[in-house]
């Protein structure tokens, strides 16, 4: 079944006021294009779930789309803070965001349980520290063999998962290489999956290397073709991370005024991803484009 549509159509059909949502990708393959479209559509009251709420989640927060954040590390990696989040989570903040906090392993385990169809997931963690004390979702179970107490987290089934991949076909069979993050777990845990592809390929390309398929089309509801949809994040084999943007973001995002101005210019002020890309500094994309390091193929013959 051909599931190809525009980002606008995919978001409008899937993300509703009050939805729980994961835009996944661990530093790699973070689909900013999806976040920006959600902002443009004025969707509110999201439960936004992500191990590392990156700039895109901070932008969703600043734009007022998020009611609750479920996370395990909230910062601008290697640079500084997420300022929209900080302005809504400290004692001095006029309005406060609801936070549900884990460590990486804990939140990942919620997705593992969700993807595996189990109601909970056990992990050896959280003894002694204070994380379990402030998060009532973290409980314990006793091992029926050793008697030891293990931490547990409940299964998580996000309403919508947005998975950016290097290539997919129109049915949503998605192939990823480089960092895999928790994309597989997020996709299988979710109730609905949007696949966003850097490159759209015929199904024959997918079938030639089936071990690369991370998300099978049978769990995908929409496919969007959005090259450069991850900028300023990166796509291995396509383009590098725009580190300068992450550094500059610290200054842009520190003050609500400059933050809003940026959103006006790059999100509200454009119609779609093409519009965003057109507003970037001329030549920037060329400097980010990857230098080829193509591996050899393997033989699937018999």
């Amino acid at each position: 079944m051909n599931k190809l549509c525009s980002m606008k159509e995919a978001i409008a059909a899937s993300v509703k006021n009050g939805s729980s949502l994961v835009i996944d990708g661990f530093t790699h393959l973070i689909c900013f294009a999806a976040g920006h479209e959600i902002i443009r559509q004025g969707i509110r009251d999201l439960t936004a779930i992500r191990l590392t709420p990156d700039l895109v989640y901070d932008q969703l927060i600043e734009a007022g789309a998020v009611r609750k954040l479920v996370f395990s590390w909230a910062g601008n990696p290697g640079v500084g803070s997420l300022h929209a989040l900080r302005r809504r989570s400290e004692a001095s903040s006029p309005e406060r965001l609801e936070l549900e906090e884990y460590s990486h392993f804990g939140l990942l385990s919620r997705l593992l349980a969700g993807s595996a169809g189990l109601p909970f997931w056990p992990l050896r963690n959280y003894q002694g520290g204070d994380i379990a004390g402030v998060n009532p979702s973290i409980k314990t179970v006793r091992c029926p063999y050793t008697g030891q107490e293990l931490a547990t987290v409940p299964a998580l089934h996000p309403d919508v998962a947005i998975i950016h991949c290097q290539r997919a076909d129109v049915e949503g069979n998605a192939q990823v290489w480089g960092l895999l993050g928790s994309q597989k777990e997020v996709a299988f845990a979710a109730r609905k999956v949007i696949v966003v592809a850097e490159q759209l390929v015929p199904t024959e390309v997918i079938r030639k290397d089936p071990n690369r398929t991370l998300v099978p089309g049978i769990i995908v509801s929409h496919v969007v073709h959005e090259p450069w949809g991850c900028h300023p994040s990166f796509v291995q084999g396509f383009h590098d991370r725009d580190n300068d943007f992450y550094v500059k973001w610290e200054d842009i995002s520190r003050q609500p005024e400059t933050y809003r101005a940026w959103l006006e210019e790059f999100v509200y002020g454009v119609k779609d991803r093409q519009g965003y890309l057109a507003r970037l500094e001329t030549g920037l994309l060329d400097t980010l484009r990857a230098k080829a390091r193509v591996c050899e193929g393997v033989d699937y013959g018999y």
Binding site: T27, H28, T52, F71, L123, G128, G129
Partner: protein, 254 residues
């Protein structure tokens, strides 16, 4: 290049590198720990095995990675796996020898806070949170803490224990059934703290020119001092050149 030219960051990176043995499997964080690992690999521990929580296993980055998910950690890595494998099959399975952590606060038991300053529900400062720190502290066989000293960072009691050390709310790791070894050393800009048999941090090494009183003044609890305090070794000119010209030429972390 004389040693007195070494900056605090350079000394810390160099001292941390000395804790790494050839062949160690290290769970690498970004910043100084990353620099320390690359320095160790370039000098005495060429076989150091670097694992990143992003999924890169046996990485040999061509450039200094600006994040733990830098694409340079993927290219030419020995393996790149999902994060579930990193946390379950590598960390929880007990394969990680050395973990590195820093934080906003540390206490005498090596407990670390990277979550909030002030009350959790009503924090003065909201910090990033755990990331993988909590589980690294639980599972790594040896944990190295790298932090600058000061009364606001080396505190009597952490506002929040994100990553457990040797004694948490009066309970020991053994009582809590924690698999990893806990913190072995705190490497600071003034000296190095070891942990005694009770799990309490003890000043054991001083940088040249630093006095015990200076360290005590920078510590928020009455710091115990080892019977004989050693002098921290010093990075030589070749090491400094390596750090400055090759490992961090853009001075991202130095």
């Amino acid at each position: 290049m004389a040693t007195e030219n070494a900056s605090a960051s350079e000394r810390m990176a160099w001292r941390a590198a000395q804790e790494l043995r050839d062949g160690d499997v290290v769970f690498v964080g970004i910043g100084l720990p990353n620099l320390a690992c690359n320095l160790a690999r370039a000098t005495h521990a060429p076989g150091l095995f670097m694992i990143y929580e992003s999924g890169a296993v046996g990485a040999i980055p061509e450039r200094l990675p600006v994040s733990i998910g830098d694409p340079s950690l993927v290219t030419d890595s020995l393996a790149v796996v999902g994060q579930a494998d990193i946390f379950q099959c590598m960390l929880q399975r007990g394969l990680i020898e050395v973990g590195f952590l820093g934080g906003a606060q540390v206490d005498r038991w090596g407990n670390i806070n990277t979550t909030v300053i002030g009350d959790y529900a009503n924090p003065k400062v909201r910090l990033p949170g755990s990331g993988g720190a909590c589980e690294i502290a639980v599972h790594a066989r040896r944990l190295l803490i790298v932090m600058r000293m000061g009364k606001r960072t080396f505190v009597e009691k952490c506002d929040f224990i994100t990553s457990p050390g040797h004694r948490m709310h009066g309970k020991t790791r053994a009582e809590l059934g924690m698999p990893g070894g806990g913190p072995t050393r705190i490497i600071t800009d003034l000296g190095v703290l070891d942990f005694d048999a009770t799990g309490e941090a003890v000043l054991s090494e001083l940088y040249p020119g630093v006095t015990v009183d200076q360290v005590r003044a920078a510590c928020g609890w009455p710091l115990r001092v080892a019977e004989s305090v050693r002098a921290v070794g010093e990075p030589d000119g070749a090491v400094l050149q390596l750090l400055r010209e090759k490992l961090d030429p853009k001075r991202l972390y130095l």
